[in-house]
């Protein structure tokens, strides 16, 4: 689910870096001057949001706007831990860990009406209702009956959520879900006002004036195409902590443009840098690398239409040969100029029940390239698979930088080290989705970002019946471990099972893990108090302020 965010980000990053022509000059003379207005922040945003109705979909820009203008039951703190927001204190959790009872604090919407438990109940039911046709409904499937309702098998009012009174919300989950409090901080779980939704009908959420807000800011009606404005919400229950009066978010799709604006002091934050800018700003004093989790792999198509190719990828030795032939260090240092080589699927930011990073608990190091061994394995594998020679393979990527570069690099590595012929097919984002959905590829480059802080957000990706499993890799033991983990109330054991599953995936060379990406931002030093997150929204400006000396 979050993948979409990660990738639409990629899309933006790409469409922008296509032309990363002129970046910041030398030092930028005006660069670090304090803005005269210390109550207004000039901020970066990618494309304009597609909609503001967070029940329908969540794209990156909308998440920037909504996460800062709304408050859910919980809100992530600086350490990415969910803390009570509209909820007053921690919820009561039943002994089977499936029923959560939230008490709500006294909070108001921007029009002065109180925020009630009904608003949550209405919102969540609206999301799963198939008539709403939400593209993000599956993030609700942890709640009892959500999936069935969404599939039209049960009526909407059977959803496991109930407003016991204005201030009490009871939620019934399908399975014990250790990360449920992460979820209630997410945009799709935010409350909605039934009267407002009814009033505007189809126009609800199309423009900022067709919504009400209960968060630190409200989206101002001054907003227009290209520039969205957040202004302080005077009805916010925690408004004393909100220091900024106004935030201007500028839609900039070319990251060279963003850098130039940053250099001339017109932006206080410039979004993720790409390409040569990464080299240029590697040692810049404003450089900022926030925690970020995104895992990139090369998926091999086990069910390729060409039987020879299916046989080819069906052979474990051949898969290992491919794995051994790609030098991840060069990929990261030279081609991407950022990120970390990866030998696993789950990034290190994800923590397990012990509270430690998954990568501390289960060390899976990146494969060391070994062309000699790879060549030998390929020959053995070809013989085993009954192939006289290796087929010409197609590497499918979207045309968003740096993906074509990565593909070209892999093409060259496979040619150099294995003598494999490959063709790079770079296509628009949506076309790549369609082609990979239809299984029309041999190798496809894929990235995935987390929706919540739990290995499950990654691990359910590769089960045999997962719609995300494009390569149709299938392993019974893996499936069983994941299935078991869904309902396991022993969270310690659950963590271990998930790590075991990941090890199976790695050992079978199910896909080729390549790298985990990092982001390099430029942030003016006078901007303080921003909370940066590796899941949910990228940043939280609730307590941000401009330092004035």
């Amino acid at each position: 689910m979050r993948k979409k965010l990660a990738l639409s980000l990629g899309l933006l990053l790409a469409s922008s870096s296509v032309l990363a022509a002129c970046g910041g000059g030398g030092g930028g003379n005006t660069a670090n001057e304090k803005p005269q207005d210390t109550k207004t922040l000039e901020w970066y945003m990618g494309e304009d949001p597609k909609t503001l109705d967070y029940a329908l979909d969540v794209d990156q820009s909308m998440n920037y706007l909504i996460s800062n203008s709304m408050d859910g039951l919980f809100r992530l703190d600086a350490d990415h831990k969910p803390q009570p927001a509209i909820a007053e204190g921690q919820p009561q959790i039943s002994s089977d860990k499936k029923t959560y009872t939230f008490k709500l604090r006294d909070a108001k919407w921007s029009d002065g009406k109180p925020v009630t438990a009904k608003d949550f109940e209405f919102a969540w039911k609206r999301v799963v209702d198939p008539k709403t046709a939400s593209q993000y409904a599956n993030i609700m499937f942890f709640i009892e009956n959500a999936q069935e309702i969404n599939q039209g098998k049960k009526p909407a009012d059977t959803l496991g959520v109930k407003a016991k009174d204005d201030k009490t919300l009871e939620v019934k989950l399908k399975n014990p879900t250790p990360f449920f409090l992460d979820l209630v901080a997410f945009a799709t779980y935010l409350p909605q006002r039934e009267d407002i939704v009814k009033k505007h009908g189809k126009a609800y959420g199309v423009t900022p004036d067709k919504l009400v807000y209960n968060g630190p800011f409200e989206i101002s009606t001054e907003s227009k195409k290209g520039k969205f404005v957040l202004k302080k919400n005077q009805n916010y229950w925690d408004k004393d902590k909100v220091k900024l009066e106004k935030v201007n978010l500028h839609s900039i799709e070319d990251d060279a443009t963003a850098v130039k604006l940053y250099e001339t002091g017109k932006l206080a934050w410039s979004g993720p840098l790409s390409g040569a800018f990464l080299t240029k700003y590697k040692n810049h004093k404003d450089k900022f690398v926030p925690p970020y989790a995104s895992s990139w792999v090369l998926i091999q198509n086990f069910k390729a239409k060409d039987p020879n190719k299916a046989k080819f990828f069906g052979n474990k030795k051949i898969r290992e040969a491919i794995d051994l032939s790609v030098d991840r260090n060069t990929l990261v240092d030279k081609v991407l100029r950022t990120g970390r080589p990866s030998g696993s699927w789950v990034p290190k930011e994800i923590t397990v029940t012990s509270g430690k990073s998954i990568r501390e608990e289960s060390k899976l190091d990146p494969t060391k390239p070994d062309p000699a061994k790879a060549k030998q394995l390929l020959q053995e594998g070809l013989k085993e698979a009954g192939l006289s020679s290796a087929p010409t393979l197609e590497i499918l990527v979207n045309n968003i930088d740096p993906n074509p570069q990565i593909a070209q690099y892999i093409k060259e590595e496979l040619r150099k080290n294995l003598g494999l012929n490959t063709v790079v097919k770079s296509v628009p984002f949506k076309q790549r989705l369609e082609l990979s959905d239809r299984g029309e590829f041999d190798l496809v480059l894929y990235g995935w970002g987390p929706d919540y802080n739990d290995p499950m957000t990654y691990m359910e990706f590769w089960t045999s019946d997962s719609p995300n499993n494009k390569g149709k890799w299938s392993n019974a033991e893996y499936d069983k471990l994941i299935e078991k983990s869904y309902s396991n109330t022993n969270f310690e054991e659950r963590s271990k099972d998930l790590m075991k599953a990941e090890k199976i995936w790695v050992d079978d060379h199910a896909t080729v893990p390549l790298y985990q990406s990092d982001r390099l931002y430029l942030v003016k030093p006078y901007v303080k108090g921003v909370k940066w997150h590796f899941f949910n929204a990228d940043f939280d400006l609730k307590e941000a302020y401009i330092e004035s000396k």
Partner: protein
């Protein structure tokens, strides 16, 4: 008269003048094409264009073999290497430096130039074949046929080019032929219009009428009498179609619908380099200069040809 000359009676004897000389046209008659060439040859701009273009053409063939590696080999230890004048001459190291994947820009640029030219040429030919055929038919037959064809052209004009081209390239994967086709698909319209206008003008002239009266068939009239007289505008159209195709191909690369990497065309290389303008300017400047020189050459040649072909200049 100069008085230095002494007149003698024998000077007043009849001169022997060859009869055939009387009928010979005093000035040697020059064939149309020879005449065109002569005028073209004397046009400094056009000749400069021709020479530059020839140099580029030669380099597209010999250039790639002069490089250090082939156009797609990567050497990531020498990423983004800037060219030096010395290397450019001696060829000891990468003449044009390397790009962001450590590929030899010299090889890539010349290989890419060749690919761009191929796309452009193919597009121009298709465009001309299409445009001239429709234009001649429409202009020649006139009436209902013309009316229908003109309406069709008008309708096609109304659909945004970009949408047609993108649509085409999503259905057919981008390659030299599909890109050329996509370009021709949208660019034949103006050619058809120009040709039609010219044919309309020619059609009413006596020699065409004469040919018709003498019983020349439609096809014969069109090919024998009309076509030769629109050759000049067609040649000029080609000369301008080629650079615009190169240009459009570069734009397609910009929106990610150009040739697929690591395949190279000038558009692809410029687009790759544009990202690094500020940091590694050579990656953009070198291919831009080449595309600029090439366009300039085509335009100069086109201008020269137009001047040379224009019969009114013939005196």
């Amino acid at each position: 008269m100069k008085e230095t000359m002494k007149l003698t009676p024998d000077m007043f004897q009849p001169a022997e003048i060859d009869d055939s000389a009387k009928n010979a046209i005093a000035r040697p008659s020059i064939g149309f094409w020879k005449d065109v060439w002569r005028r073209f040859y004397r046009n400094v701009g056009a000749m400069v264009g021709l020479v530059l273009l020839s140099i580029i053409l030669v380099l597209t063939f010999v250039g790639p073999s002069m490089g250090k590696t082939d156009y797609q080999a990567q050497n990531l230890s020498v990423q983004d290497q800037e060219p030096t004048f010395q290397n450019m001459i001696s060829g000891d190291d990468y003449r044009f430096g390397t790009d962001n994947l450590g590929r030899d820009l010299w090889t890539r640029v010349w290989y890419g130039t060749k690919v761009s030219l191929m796309i452009a040429l193919l597009a121009a030919i298709l465009e001309i074949v299409f445009g001239v055929t429709i234009g001649v038919i429409s202009g020649y037959f006139g009436g209902m046929v013309d009316n229908i064809l003109q309406r069709v052209i008008e309708v096609l004009y109304g659909i945004p080019n970009l949408i047609v081209v993108i649509l085409f390239l999503i259905i057919f994967d981008p390659g030299i032929v599909p890109i050329a086709l996509a370009l021709a698909l949208t660019n034949w319209l103006p050619t058809a219009r120009i040709v039609r206008a010219q044919v309309l003008k020619l059609k009413s002239q006596e020699y065409v009428l004469a040919a018709r009266t003498l019983g020349s068939g439609h096809i014969r009239t069109m090919t024998k009498h009309l076509l030769p007289n629109i050759v000049s505008i067609v040649i000029i159209a080609v000369m301008f179609a080629i650079p615009s195709a190169i240009f459009y191909e570069a734009f397609l690369s910009f929106i990610g619908l150009g040739l697929r990497p690591p395949e190279a065309s000038l558009g692809v290389i410029i687009n790759d380099g544009a990202q690094n303008l500020q940091i590694f300017p050579h990656e953009l400047l070198i291919p831009s200069v080449i595309i600029g020189i090439m366009m300039l050459s085509f335009n100069l040649i086109g201008d020269g040809l137009r001047d040379a072909l224009d019969p009114r200049m013939r005196k």
